[in-house]
């Protein structure tokens, strides 16, 4: 079993990933490749260099430090040839200003636990805890299970944010120490799912059916469904209605909350740092009216008090 967790980030004070105030541990590596992904650095398991234009002073020390000659410079700054890069880390080491770095960081269980327990008093006051998100945390289910078990021994609330696109055993391994599952349902149509995420959703739906049955029998964990509202991809009434109907028919009483999370383009800079283009670059935030329409579609199938829309919107007058 893997003892170390590969992460991209630990975000303290999060109010978006479960109840209360939380620490969210973002793991690295994901079986899906959603074209809108908000954390592109979390997809690959391999560590990748990450260059921040605004921090760079243009000293170019990194160029000569790279044994693979994977770096070059032009008027836009540093260019990274990802086919050559072997993630040795020398460019980040020599960079004086922290502009060049690697987002992947391994944490051994003890260090991870120490880090997230720092905010214990804040979890207690705000009724929060720790969320494992990603990437897909269940790719590293062994260490996540150990991590959650240790958190439960400390009396900390645990939440698992998963795409469900993993073998059922991975999910089962973590469940005994999981208080809440945030389960992503992005697209109901299998072909569309394949088109936008690179994989069909059969396994995702099967795992969810099993999870809902388990939660109904055992009375735990709690289950929240999360659907990203992506313009042109997931954000249409048909998709939302289909997901809603599926939930309503199969797990109406088990789903405590269904969150519709609106698209925002803030992560475009991440694509910039990775030096890869993003097809959602320039796509505007949704209008409040659009979100309301989709919310109506959702509540046509699921009880209104359990459907929540969150995230950025823009006013229609700004169009």
């Amino acid at each position: 079993m893997c003892r170390e967790l590969l992460t991209i980030d630990i975000s303290r004070g999060s109010a978006h990933d479960g109840p209360g105030l939380r620490t969210t541990v973002f793991t690295k590596g994901c079986p899906l490749h959603c074209r809108w992904c908000q954390n592109p650095e979390s997809i690959g398991v391999k560590n990748e260099p990450w260059w921040e234009k605004h921090s760079c002073i243009g000293c170019r020390l990194c160029l000569s430090a790279c044994p693979q000659k994977a770096l070059s410079a032009d008027q836009n700054g540093i260019r990274i040839d990802r086919t050559r890069c072997e993630a040795c880390g020398r460019c980040a080491e020599i960079c004086p200003c922290g502009a060049m770095s690697f987002q992947g960081q391994t944490y051994d269980g003890e260090r991870l636990l120490r880090e997230v327990l720092r905010d214990r008093l804040y979890y207690e006051q705000f009724g929060g805890g720790v969320t494992c998100s990603g990437g897909e945390p269940l790719l590293q289910y062994g260490v996540v299970a150990e991590f959650f078990r240790a958190l439960k021994a400390e009396g900390i609330h645990t939440a698992l944010d998963t795409s469900g696109a993993v073998p059922l055993e991975n999910l089962q391994a973590v469940l005994p120490w999981t208080d809440l599952v945030l389960y992503d349902l992005k697209l109901f149509d299998a072909a569309e799912h394949k088109k936008w995420t690179g994989a069909t959703n059969e396994r995702i739906l099967q795992n969810l059916l099993w999870l809902a049955g388990h939660a109904a029998r055992e009375g735990r964990p709690k289950l929240w469904i999360r659907t990203p509202l992506i313009p042109g991809a997931t954000a249409d009434e048909k998709n939302i209605k289909e997901i809603g109907t599926f939930l309503s028919e199969n797990m109406k009483d088990v789903v405590e909350r269904w969150e519709l999370c609106t698209f925002n383009g803030l992560c475009v800079s991440k694509y910039g740092r990775l030096g890869i283009p993003w097809e959602f670059d320039g796509v505007k935030a949704m209008t409040g009216e659009t979100v309301t329409r989709l919310w109506r579609a959702a509540v046509s199938a699921m009880p209104e008090e359990r459907v929540f829309a969150s995230g950025m919107t823009r006013s229609s007058s700004a169009e």
Binding site: L21, P96, Q125
Partner: protein, 726 residues
């Protein structure tokens, strides 16, 4: 949660007058806002008649008192329509009398030492923050105080201790001037009452006249009289430019409140309006509510609520502190947080009473006094009427000491980090000895030059001992507190030097000193390396341990020195009000800071250094054991969008501060400010919308547009948080 306070027409008139005064510029707008109660009337009109000018200046308590009496006597009574709480001042002592040790007999010794301290970037100035005990005047009245003064004055005269005798003669002069001032108000109210045409007006003026007649001599009998005499007494103190705190208003006014409620003469709304009038008249005055009682139970009572409701009614900033403790009434604390969230102007200040109490006990103050501790303005606290520490009178910038230590490290070839750090500790010794020397010299003449006679009238000891509260043993507890500026910069500099010079050996100490002296000219790569080392303010053990080490060095060394006021130790405060103003003269530092760039204020991380969000930042701020220090506040600037989509704003402030205090945090100043608005206010200070924009600068609040451009720039460059996350 929201408790809307309904304003009567009368209160609305008084609130309007407050705003008119602020906008017209009639309120004295000194940078700290502590003197906003002064209503300016141009230059002092009888300057040539001031005793010290007419007779020739003598640094003597008696002449100081004559000047003070002359100042009060010059102020004609002013009663404005609809007021029930009356009294205002137009000038302060500094307008008529110098406060400069160089004019005294210690001049020859003092000047070189003061210059040496000045070269270090330190100062010895300002008027101390302390906390008079207002209960004395509320229970004894001015006649009671006068009687004691005369009794001891005669005793010391009889015993031929002329120094003490003369001090009490001076105090008698001051006390009589206070009585005359109140009597003039009585007479003025009576005259106005006679001339009044309307019954209601006559009744109101008669009530003022009757109250003033009584409290000019006797202890107040009603809540109204108590608030009125409190107001006069604070004005008497404020006429000496004081940043004093005036204690636990919800405790010392409580007997009057309870009596009024019991006999049916006072409603909760009446009391609220009277306290609100007091806030309006004083326009920013340090009071504390909450805390614990002597038996350790929660001290929150109905009057604590009234003190908050009065603020909620007026919506003016008033430097009120809520003294949190782990058993504080949850509904009361929620209300305090609700007010803070609604107005966003750092009122109330949230301060950890349990730490103040522990700190006082740790200093050796017995339990029976320690529990009385109260917030005393800015970041300080004091036992009312029993403690004088010269808060904020002395400051030393840590960065200068660091730079001196680095230079010595080069000359003497410090082979390892420990040796370098030892040099730094020796620099701390040097600075404290210098402060001690300057303090000792000024202590010798303080009683002659600038005695704290008014504050001493409201203290335990000065009358009986014939000694000013600032003089040796004037009151029981007399530590010397001093400010240390830029501790986070010192810590981050050491972290970087340790890593890059001693561990990685990328640079020599000489390189570092040269680069700092050249203000990093031609060394941007090197500067970036130093700038990008682990920084205090991110909950990183490496950086925070260095911060704690530096804090502890100051504290341990300071406590090994004693002052000449009864040989009590020095206590460092992790704060400096001057830091962001005096940064221009401080050289570049190895934390990557350029020369002249502002350094960190208090224990807030250097601007831009906190990169992991608010929670890691406040963890760092709670890393040092705050019981060892004489305060240290953390400023938090929240963007209004922090609360987007959140229904109960107060709950965020409440839960956050609860956790912060439980983790050992000491003091929170929370501003909720739209950054874009502030930037626009800098561009367009004349915009009426910005006139009442209040911000908590650090220990004090001020109107944003009245701040100097430097202060404004410093303020908007602070780390602002739009969410608890990064």
């Amino acid at each position: 949660m929201k408790r809307t306070q309904i304003r009567s027409e009368r209160m609305q008139t008084l609130i309007n007058r407050y705003h008119e005064l602020a906008l017209s510029g009639a309120r004295k707008a000194n940078s700290t806002g502590e003197l906003r109660c002064v209503i300016e009337r141009g230059p002092f009109p009888k300057m040539s008649e001031v005793p010290s000018r007419a007779q020739g200046y003598r640094p003597e308590a008696e002449q100081w008192a004559e000047d003070y009496a002359f100042l009060l006597d010059t102020m004609e009574p002013q009663i404005h329509g609809e007021e029930t709480i009356v009294g205002e001042i137009h000038w302060e002592m500094a307008d008529i009398r110098p406060n400069d040790p160089a004019v005294t007999r210690i001049r020859e010794e003092f000047l070189p030492k003061a210059r040496e301290l000045g070269e270090l970037g330190g100062y010895c100035a300002s008027s101390a923050h302390t906390c008079p005990d207002m209960e004395i005047v509320l229970t004894e009245g001015y006649d009671g105080i006068l009687k004691r003064i005369r009794e001891y004055k005669e005793m010391y005269g009889r015993l031929n201790n002329l120094r003490r005798h003369r001090y009490l003669c001076a105090m008698e002069t001051v006390c009589l001037a206070c009585i005359r001032y109140i009597e003039r108000y009585a007479a003025h109210a009576e005259a106005l009452a006679k001339a009044a045409e309307e019954d209601a007006e006559r009744l109101q003026l008669t009530r003022i006249g009757t109250a003033c007649r009584r409290i000019a001599h006797h202890a107040p009998e009603t809540f109204y009289e108590a608030v009125q005499v409190l107001h006069f007494s604070i004005l008497f103190d404020k006429a000496i430019a004081h940043g004093n705190g005036y204690g636990r208003i919800d405790q010392y006014l409580l007997p009057f409140y309870q009596q009024g409620k019991k006999d049916g003469s006072l409603s909760r709304e009446d009391a609220r309006d009277l306290v609100a009038e007091l806030y309006l008249k004083l326009a920013g005055c340090f009071f504390g509510v909450g805390g614990r009682k002597e038996d350790g139970t929660d001290a929150v009572n109905e009057l604590s609520w009234v003190a908050l409701e009065a603020y909620d009614l007026t919506e003016i900033d008033c430097n009120l502190a809520v003294m949190w403790h782990s058993d504080i009434d949850a509904a009361f604390y929620a209300y305090a947080c609700d007010i803070l969230a609604r107005y966003g102007q750092a009122t109330p200040v949230l301060i950890n009473w349990d730490i103040m109490y522990a700190s006082e006990l740790r200093s050796g103050i017995p339990k029976e006094d320690a529990w009385k501790v109260c917030y005393a303005g800015c970041q300080w606290y004091s036992i009312p009427g029993k403690e004088y520490c010269g808060h904020d009178m002395t400051s030393v910038p840590g960065i200068t000491l660091l730079l001196r230590a680095l230079k010595r490290g080069v000359t003497e070839k410090a082979a390892d980090f420990e040796t370098l750090y030892r040099f730094f500790e020796e620099e701390i010794h040097y600075a404290i000895r210098l402060i001690q020397a300057v303090e000792s010299l000024t202590d010798q003449v303080r009683g002659d030059l600038w005695p704290e006679i008014v504050t001493s009238m409201f203290a335990h000891g000065p009358i009986e001992r014939g000694q000013d509260l600032a003089a040796p043993r004037g009151v029981d507890y007399q530590y010397t507190s001093f400010n240390i500026a830029g501790i986070p910069n010192v810590a981050d500099s050491f972290t970087a030097v340790k890593k890059l010079v001693y561990e990685k050996q990328l640079y020599t100490l000489e390189d570092v000193v040269q680069a700092c002296e050249a203000d990093w000219a031609g060394q941007e790569i090197m500067r970036q390396r130093f700038l990008n080392q682990p920084k205090y303010g991110n909950d990183l053990p490496e950086a925070d341990e260095m911060y704690v080490k530096v804090c502890n060095s100051f504290q341990e060394i300071a406590e090994s020195y004693v002052n000449r006021r009864g040989g009590q130790p020095f206590r460092p405060c992790l704060y400096s009000y001057m830091s962001h103003l005096s940064s221009a003269g401080v050289g570049a530092s190895p934390d990557g800071r350029r020369c002249g760039e502002p350094y960190s204020h208090g224990i807030n991380p250097q601007a831009g250094a906190s990169k992991r969000g608010m929670l890691p930042m406040v963890h760092s701020a709670a890393a040092a054991d705050m019981r060892k220090f004489q305060g240290g506040s953390i400023q938090i600037e929240l963007q209004p969008k922090f609360f987007d989509g959140k229904e109960e704003h107060f709950a965020y402030i409440r839960d956050f501060s609860n956790a912060f205090f439980k983790s050992g945090g000491f003091h929170l100043n929370i501003n909720i400010m739209d950054l874009a608005k502030l930037e626009d206010a800098m561009e367009h200070p004349e915009n009426p919308e910005y006139q009442q924009l209040m911000v908590r600068v650090t220990g004090f609040s001020a109107r944003f547009v009245s701040l100097s451009p430097d202060f404004q720039k410093d303020f908007v460059s602070r780390t602002n948080y739009a969410s608890l996350e990064r």
